[in-house]
Symmetry: C2
């Protein structure tokens, strides 16, 4: 880190020194900007006036030099806002953009920032620094784009903060199509990748390096010293798909995904931190496919992910794999890593699907086990002993284990020839970082082929002296303070939420509820006093808000709006909690619905202690709408034509409409169809949602109009638990058809006159690739 | 070349200087050798006594240094013969082997020379120089091996002569399994690769760099300044299957194959000579698969190969190809090459097989056309105008053409937007090398991305001044004398045949024919005076020999040997020409047959003007026997149970028993089955033989016992021509079943009461991969 600080300081020094001699050109609008760009010479600084720049497409061309770049910067860092339909493209050499804030808008093209103008004009030695991009999402989730797309060579994204991408497409992608963009040595460094919400399907990576089509290209991209916080978009946080990349000294903090060498080879994954909480099993580690990767000096804390998300997941490959599928793992080195309180940290043969050979073509069967792979000099510490530090989904017989130790608190495990039990202790560096101490000198690090290139440890100490197994050498380790978010991202921007004390807005039945909701701030509570609220048109929910009865006596909302309109219209950012309300319609409307289009940000819904009746739909979610969580708890739903409808993502590309759907202690009575209808389509081992929990509820006289004869439709949902429910007199063939090979379960249900619960081991799915 | 001479001279100087100070250890047998190796120190020279070393397995271990290698050399260069069951393996560093001659034997292992002892002990900085390997073949053709197998890094094969490999397996292979063997920078330089006979199937490359399984590995192997003469083993002379290799300044002289970038990417193919004769269409050029190759400064003369063998063959790929099949061509540069008197030198979409989509799985369909590919600054000269300098097997719409010219003698062609017609002339350098002159200065070389790396021309002149399109810059070119074989291979070995004037051995019917044949030398004629020769046991043919009647009156050979034995037993090296002989058996024997096993070298057979009758088989060829050519001309064949049987390679891996089978002006009468039975099995687009010609012959009353009802069995043979024959009263369903998609033709045949000739466009074949 010190080195990085030094680089930053030198750069700032350089900027400030330069300012004296550079030519400042102040611009106030697009015309002035374009003219300034056209006329710019090496050393020029084009200064954008503070304020909002709306609908501006900046085409930054020019030829600076290494000593005298051309700079385009905010008058005051962070006080120039790029909004509306705007983007930025680079074409030329030694161009720097600094201090801009992209918000309240989206790109008119396939990328917000692109390091090329067109195929013939790529950028080289260009840089985006000290900028922020937040929520700059396309209006429709399926309208994919990239926020930063690299082309050319030697370009850099540094000290930026990027957060909130909800639509399809990686946040950052390096593109290698064309010799101009190989051997690129791009630098993605010192950035803060803030929360990326769950995407509900594929194409939600934070960084993607190339694609399978360029997986043979030498890329040489560096991703270093970045902070990844809650990057939950999909199962891959970083998807490396090219060769010779370096992923070094990054922090992956509470991020629901993994660093994956999805395609390409010879990635160096060195000295990264993977910090979980020991509770959320979606936080992952490093997942390995292909040849020649080195995973060294990494530190894993409280990562309990399994299988694809395990701290170290070495996959099985497909023999002679198609270009876009899974090559065998060969020639991989996993050395000098430390795992503290991780669950079954080493998993081999991940993704084996030999059992599914009857429903999948041969070209999809991952049966090729890792070979010529070395796992050496690693340290595992478990506060509570783990009976299975290694899980072999398929045999790890092509892996050589050397000089690995574990303190398993004396708990037996079956791999003592691969990891020696040891009673070493931990030294505390800070509240998430512990390093082994008192490892016996007799445990010599194994000296594998070219291990001398592992010359430093996790925090940069030389391994030449005091070398030891594990991520850190012997001796005291100075706290690297890697969770200090000030060390990353734009200097002028803080992602810490502004403190706000939620207020309660009291409403009586003579008030205009709609207006009261509109005047509420994010996080506020709208409290309805007892009474009947007749509502003529939809209540707009476009922020996080709670609506509840002021007392135990339920307030009663009667929705008399037009047919096919919702009582509560869930808009982008609309996170509604509805507590203790009686809600009824006149039969032809929806209780809750998303917008039909332009759901450019996620919504959310929690319904608790409510009575809902007389609607056409309880919840109607349209295509390209997505909620991270939807819950119905302690709620009765009766006399509706349709129940909870989350089945619009029918393109079978792995997408779905909500990550978590929870139904607990609810009563469904006389809901005629789509009682629960939750769908994810397409065979894709790497989208591993959604999540359906149906517990302690009753379903009575429902499903009679269901075309397919299934009461609870869960097709393609990966995690399903149906437990402790009572199904009575539902005129269906099946209560549910579950997917045995996935994480689908049912237990303790009472089923009376309602068909049955069927489990099919291998559901046939459309191949996505 | 001058540079290379300098290097050689310096090396010789180094050797001779070193001799003064080095420690000489003379060894006379294996024990002394092993002791010497065990005790060797840097700078030591172990000297093998002149003579034959039989059944010796040399395990050369040790640690020399860059300045003081450990050398193992012949007492006198070329007078130490390694024979019998012998091999050489290296383990260690800076070890040199020099002056040995491997002959009259074969390796007990999978390689004659290997740069490793075992998986744990590979060689680095080791070298084989000034050695010869000739005909060092395993006894059985299917017992594959390699003559030189590289492992480790920085090893070298230089100034060696290798010729005559007939069994399966590349002559030289670089192996990359394991990180110890990647980034190897091996040098294969200044060697003479002498004739490699046609292999009759796959696995006959002269050099293979890696395999599809290691096709993601960086190899960085150099193949430079070698002479490839008649390297006819298979369709690939050099098969590059890894990344970053360099193939530079080699000469491919009358070699029936191509340089192929079969797997892997970013090969530099720079300044090579491809010299054909304008007659043999099997001489190829450069065939391109995959990404990022540069084909620059190459010179093509008289290459008339088509399709896979065209001077420049850019293949179609399989979309998302499996690892071992065909990736799409992308990002390839073809620049500054010269083509003189080549036929349709540029072929695109080679290997497209969209038409076969009904008989092949989708994963075999090559429909992905080249993209992001540049063809620029090339020169084509045709003495006789070529209407199709470009052939598009599939559209070349992803290829950019810039600054290419052609002197097509005014003959129109359809690609004038891709190649400009021009009336430049040629300057003569020597009898196969011509360079363009008088190209107008207006034709500026196109300056594509990174074209500046093409800094020199074919003969090493700088392109900084006098640059021009084509392989050579403007101005006079000094004859590089690249066909002077003295410049390549072992200094002490000449591959020129020793002059020998064939003698004629007169034989009368009272002589022992067998003894006379035995006393003949290679190339001699055994002349039988008129009369009847009753032979009781097989005549052994183990050299090139002609047996003929002394006069127009046919001598008569009556074979009375045991059943299932041949009149003429074709042994390894046995090339028999039988002219004007009447040959008969007693019904149960074979007229000609190979050995049943151990055919460690090819045979050949030409039968002309003979009468053959009363045999069980006319020709019976056993599995793993191979003839380059078999001809029957002007010969009558009658009253035999079986005809010409060449169908033993039934493993469906693309192998077959003869390359060329020619039947011209023959009469087949009452041959009951297998009249002609010639088979090649397996779907493999890269074995493009055998070759069957049946012309001007009659087939009468034959095939009555043929199980499959086909008179001429040609299944899987790629090139078939049946023309001008008469088929009368043959009790078969079909005269022949031809393969329309391949080069199978029939014309001008008379067919009477003999079934018909059927052409099936796409024969179903077993997939080989």
């Amino acid at each position: 880190m010190y080195k990085n600080l030094l680089v930053v300081s030198l750069f700032l020094l350089f900027i400030s020194c330069n300012e004296v001699s550079s030519n400042l050109i102040n611009v106030k609008n697009s015309e002035e900007l374009n003219t300034a760009i056209k006329d710019a010479k090496p050393g020029d600084e084009i200064v954008l006036a503070n304020g909002v720049w709306k609908d501006v497409e900046i085409v930054f061309t020019g030829k600076g030099t290494e000593e005298s770049p051309i700079t385009l910067r905010a008058e005051t860092e962070g006080e120039v806002f790029i909004e509306g339909v705007s983007n930025l493209t680079f074409g030329g050499e030694y161009l720097v953009v600094s201090g801009l804030h992209f918000r309240n808008g989206y790109s008119p093209t396939k990328n917000v920032i692109a390091f090329r103008i067109d195929k013939e004009n790529v950028a080289n030695h260009c840089r985006v620094t000290n900028c922020v991009i937040i929520d700059f999402n396309k209006l429709q989730r399926d309208n994919d784009d990239l926020w930063v797309q690299f082309y050319g060579r030697h370009n850099q994204l540094d000290h930026c903060y990027l957060a909130g991408k909800t639509n399809g497409g990686p946040t950052v992608r390096v593109d290698l199509k064309g010799n101009e963009s190989i051997k690129n040595y791009h630098q993605i460094v010192n950035n803060h990748f803030g929360p990326r919400p769950r995407k509900g399907g594929a194409r939600g990576e934070t960084i993607q390096l190339g694609s399978s089509f360029t997986s043979m290209c030498p890329s040489n991209t560096t991703i270093a010293n970045n902070f990844f916080e809650e990057c939950n978009g999909e199962v891959e946080i970083i998807s490396s798909k090219t060769n010779f990349n370096e992923i070094k000294n990054n922090v992956f903090y509470k991020s629901e995904g993994s660093v994956v060498t999805r395609h390409g080879n010879y990635t160096m994954i060195d000295g990264n931190y993977f910090i979980g909480d020991g509770v959320n099993a979606n936080y992952g580690g490093i997942r390995i496919v292909n040849t020649g990767h080195w995973i060294v000096n990494n530190y894993f804390y409280n990562i309990i992910g399994e299988n694809f998300r395990s701290p170290l997941a070495i996959m099985n490959g497909i023999p002679k794999s198609p270009l876009n599928r899974y090559n065998q793992v060969t020639d991989v080195v996993v050395a000098y890593n430390t795992y503290v309180n991780c669950k079954s940290p080493w998993q081999f043969g991940v993704g084996t699907n030999i059992a599914q050979k009857d429903v999948l073509p041969l070209s999809e069967i991952r049966s090729a086990r890792p070979v010529r792979t070395v796992v050496a000099n690693n340290v595992i510490y478990n506060k509570v002993g783990d009976p299975n530090p290694i899980i072999e989904h398929d045999k790890a017989d092509g892996v050589k284990f050397k000089s690995n130790i574990i303190n398993n608190q004396g708990v037996a495990f079956n791999d003592e020839n691969r990891i020696s039990a040891n009673s070493f202790e931990l030294a505390t560096v800070n509240d998430f970082m512990y390093t082994p101490k008192n490892i016996s000198n007799e445990i010599e690090p194994y000296n594998g082929f070219e291990f001398e290139i592992i010359s430093n440890d996790l925090v940069g100490n030389s391994r030449a002296t005091n070398n030891s197994i594990g991520a850190t050498i012997k001796g005291n380790i100075v706290d690297p303070k890697v969770l200090d978010s000030k060390k990353y991202g734009a200097t002028w921007y803080s992602s810490e939420p502004v403190a706000y004390e939620a207020k309660t807005i009291e409403v009586t039945s003579t008030d205009d509820v709609s207006a009261k909701i509109a005047e509420a701030n994010n996080g506020d509570i709208v409290s309805l006093s007892k009474g009947k609220y007749v509502i003529a048109s939809s209540l707009i929910i476009n922020k996080s808000i709670t609506i509840q009865s002021a007392s135990d006596n339920k307030a009663e909302i009667v929705f008399e709006g037009a047919e096919n309109t919702p009582a509560f219209e869930l808009n982008p950012y609309g996170i509604l909690t509805l507590n203790n309300i009686k809600l009824s319609g006149t039969g032809s409307q929806q209780a809750f619905a998303s917008l039909k289009e332009n759901m450019f940000n996620h919504f959310g819904l929690t319904v608790s202690g409510c009575d809902i009746s007389n609607f056409d739909f309880v919840l109607k979610v349209y295509k390209q709408s997505f909620a991270e969580e939807i819950s119905f708890v302690n709620t009765s739903i009766s006399n509706c034509e349709n129940g909870i409808e989350l089945s619009e993502e029918t393109n079978d590309r792995g997408d779905y409409n909500t990550e978590f759907l929870t139904i607990d202690k609810c009563q469904f009575t006389n809901v005629k169809k789509n009682v629960i209808d939750y769908y994810r389509g397409g065979y894709d081992e790497s989208t591993i949602g959604g999540n359906l929990v149906v517990t302690n509820s009753t379903f009575t006289n429902s499903g009679a109009k269901e075309d397919n004869g299934i009461l609870l439709n869960t097709r393609g949902i990966v995690n399903v638990n149906i437990e402790g429910n009572t199904f009575t007199n539902n005129r269906v063939k099946l209560v549910a058809l579950l997917w045995g090979a996935k994480n689908n379960h049912h237990s303790n249900n009472k089923v009376q006159n309602s068909g049955k619960i069927l489990v099919e081991e291998n559901l046939k799915m459309k191949l996505m690739y």
